[in-house]
């Protein structure tokens, strides 16, 4: 509470007794420390992950980049031969190699950035929707510290060559144990928070957030036990791997992103969700279909045909929750699209929600065998992954942060220009990246399917410009990230705007409005 009073201009009337606005300000203030900690550490890992990403991306079209010795032309694409020829130089820079940097990128953005941001947004949404101040805020902060220790150890282990080489589970078991413990604390806290909510309606966002807090620890524990601690044998490992890999997206990032959009869009516009009935169908059909989707990563693999077919069917069934959500978000925003000019939160969140529809329909189509034959193992899939995790999820997280941070810090964002710069670098950057990888991937896939094409001479040469394009789009995204991290740091240091007091989260002014 104390910090919020700074924003009241001198001479303003004293804060009124517990009104809706004052109660909401108290709830927001109770989230201040843990949520800002999760957001701050999320942005740190976003910057680290962006650095890993840029280096990895450049290495794909310029393998000599950040290598000690230039690679001879004849062995440019045959790293094994190069290793035998230059054992010492590669050992010196082993932690800079593609294999380690790519894993470091994936894990720092998926667990360091996206998951930390999702926990921060989820914690704040739970407090608002349970309509009680945050319970045990220091426990949540402690879980955040533990989570960051786990990530730091895990990334260091990957760079030191101790990756497990299982995609999405590269962290060695000792780091995974720390992460699992930290998340378990959050999950138990979430149950406690839900149990102590004020009586009344459970808003659809709360369903999504609570389900996500419940699903992720179950997924993470099951996958780590079945793959790292007591490994299952043979191709079952691949099933567990992709059951987990896809469910991190479907049962963790998606419900947090969609749930946040279900709160932010109506709240920012000031209009209830178009059809609450549809939102209930969307939630329960997502819960039913999504956990079956992982098998579509293994189309063509040595698995029982029914496993693949069941997962293709479930992937196509995902059209139901996706279209339901798309209709609902579009109809809520309809007639208010002019608000996109005035609200940073709405701009980011609506961009993310639109991309959710597009990327999900693309994903359903990619699960169909005839298209999968072309796109599997090409850059097309990488484009799809960034479409989902960046254009959908990350953009919604940015939007939520633009809404939440001023309410926690008690001051308004300093510069509208920096917000616009962040939005346009992010929007153009991710659009360019998805376009480059999608077109490049299709070209690559069609050529790979033709046995007459020469792999080194033709296919690699033709994909190279698309990879350069991807690196350039990454530079745009990096600019946006640095700008946002700087802007966020100003807010945390209490250097935001104060003149006239912030408009929306000041209870006194809220009361004063007619």
């Amino acid at each position: 509470m104390t910090d919020n009073t700074h924003s009241i201009p001198a001479g303003a009337p004293p804060m009124p007794p517990a009104s809706d606005a004052a109660e909401r300000a108290a709830i927001d203030q109770s989230c201040r420390r843990p949520v800002l900690f999760f957001f701050g550490s999320a942005l740190f890992w976003l910057l680290a992950g962006t650095f890993f990403a840029i280096v990895t991306s450049i290495k794909l079209h310029d393998p000599e980049f950040m290598n000690r010795a230039p690679l001879p032309d004849a062995v440019r694409f045959q790293t094994g031969e190069f290793l035998r020829a230059n054992p010492i130089s590669m050992q010196d820079v082993g932690f800079l190699t593609f294999g380690r940097f790519r894993a470091a990128h994936l894990n720092s953005v998926a667990y360091g950035w996206a998951t930390s941001a999702a926990i921060g947004v989820g914690v704040w949404l739970m407090a608002r929707l349970c309509r009680v101040p945050l319970r045990r805020p220091s426990l949540v902060t402690a879980a955040g510290v533990l989570w960051n220790i786990g990530i730091a150890i895990g990334i260091a282990a990957i760079l030191a060559g101790q990756s497990t080489s299982v995609e999405w589970l590269e962290f060695p078991p000792y780091a995974a144990l720390i992460l699992g413990t930290a998340y378990a604390i959050i999950a138990i806290w979430a149950v406690d928070m839900f149990a102590s909510r004020k009586p009344g309606h459970v808003y659809v966002t709360l369903w999504y957030v609570l389900a996500a807090f419940f699903w992720f620890p179950w997924l993470y524990a099951s996958a780590n036990i079945l793959i790292l601690l007591k490994p299952v044998q043979g191709s079952v490992q691949a099933i567990v791997n992709w059951w987990f890999g896809h469910n991190v997206l479907g049962l963790w990032f998606t419900p947090i992103g969609i749930g946040a959009a279900y709160y932010m869009i109506p709240k920012v516009i000031g209009r209830p969700i178009h059809s609450y009935y549809l939102s209930a169908i969307g939630f329960w059909s997502l819960a039913l279909f999504y956990s079956w989707n992982g098998g579509h990563h293994l189309i063509g693999g040595p698995l029982p045909a029914w496993v693949i077919t069941a997962s293709i069917v479930a992937s196509v069934m995902m059209v139901i929750p996706v279209v339901v959500t798309a209709i609902n978000h579009h109809m809520t925003t309809r007639g208010h699209f002019h608000m996109l000019r005035y609200s940073p939160t709405l701009r980011f969140v609506v961009f993310g929600a639109m991309c959710y529809t597009l990327v999900s329909l693309q994903g359903s189509s990619m699960a169909i065998r005839s298209l999968n034959e072309i796109t599997h193992f090409t850059h097309y899939t990488i484009g799809h992954a960034h479409f989902g995790l960046y254009a959908f999820f990350t953009m919604i997280m940015f939007g939520c942060m633009y809404y939440i941070v001023p309410r926690l810090c008690g001051c308004e964002w300093r510069s509208a220009y920096l917000i616009r710069l962040h939005f346009w670098t992010a929007a153009y950057g991710i659009a360019a990246m998805v376009a480059a990888l999608t077109i490049g991937g299709l070209v690559q896939g069609l050529m790979l399917a033709d046995p007459a094409k020469d792999f080194l001479g033709e296919i690699l040469a033709i994909t190279k410009p698309y990879l350069v394009g991807r690196s350039l789009s990454g530079v745009l995204l990096s600019i946006g990230h640095v700008v946002f991290a700087y802007h966020f740091a100003l807010m945390v240091l209490q250097l935001g705007r104060r003149e006239g007091g912030p408009v929306y989260f000041n209870p006194v002014e809220g009361e004063a409005r007619p």
Binding site: P266, H336, R497
Partner: protein, 78 residues
């Protein structure tokens, strides 16, 4: 493989049971009864329906009032 069977058992039985429990609880608690009140539960007297709650920091008050009235007109449309 024992671990696999235990986890499979937990997943199928405990997880399914919790999902069913949640759905039954929601139905019994009346969560699916009044959709209109449900969708309006995030608004209150401090942040009522028809008022936007987020703007760029350089948007001035006059513009805010104009946006708010336009949003209110939009909400009033059928």
């Amino acid at each position: 493989m024992t671990a696999a069977y235990i986890i499979l058992g937990i997943s199928l039985v405990a997880f399914g049971a919790m999902a069913v429990t949640a759905l039954v609880w929601a139905a019994r608690a009346g969560q699916f009864e009044n959709f209109k009140a449900g969708s309006e539960s995030i608004f209150d007297s401090g942040e009522p329906i028809g008022e936007p709650t987020d703007l760029f920091p350089d948007v001035d008050r006059a513009k805010l009032a104009a946006v708010a009235s336009r949003a209110a007109k939009g909400a009033a449309r059928p």
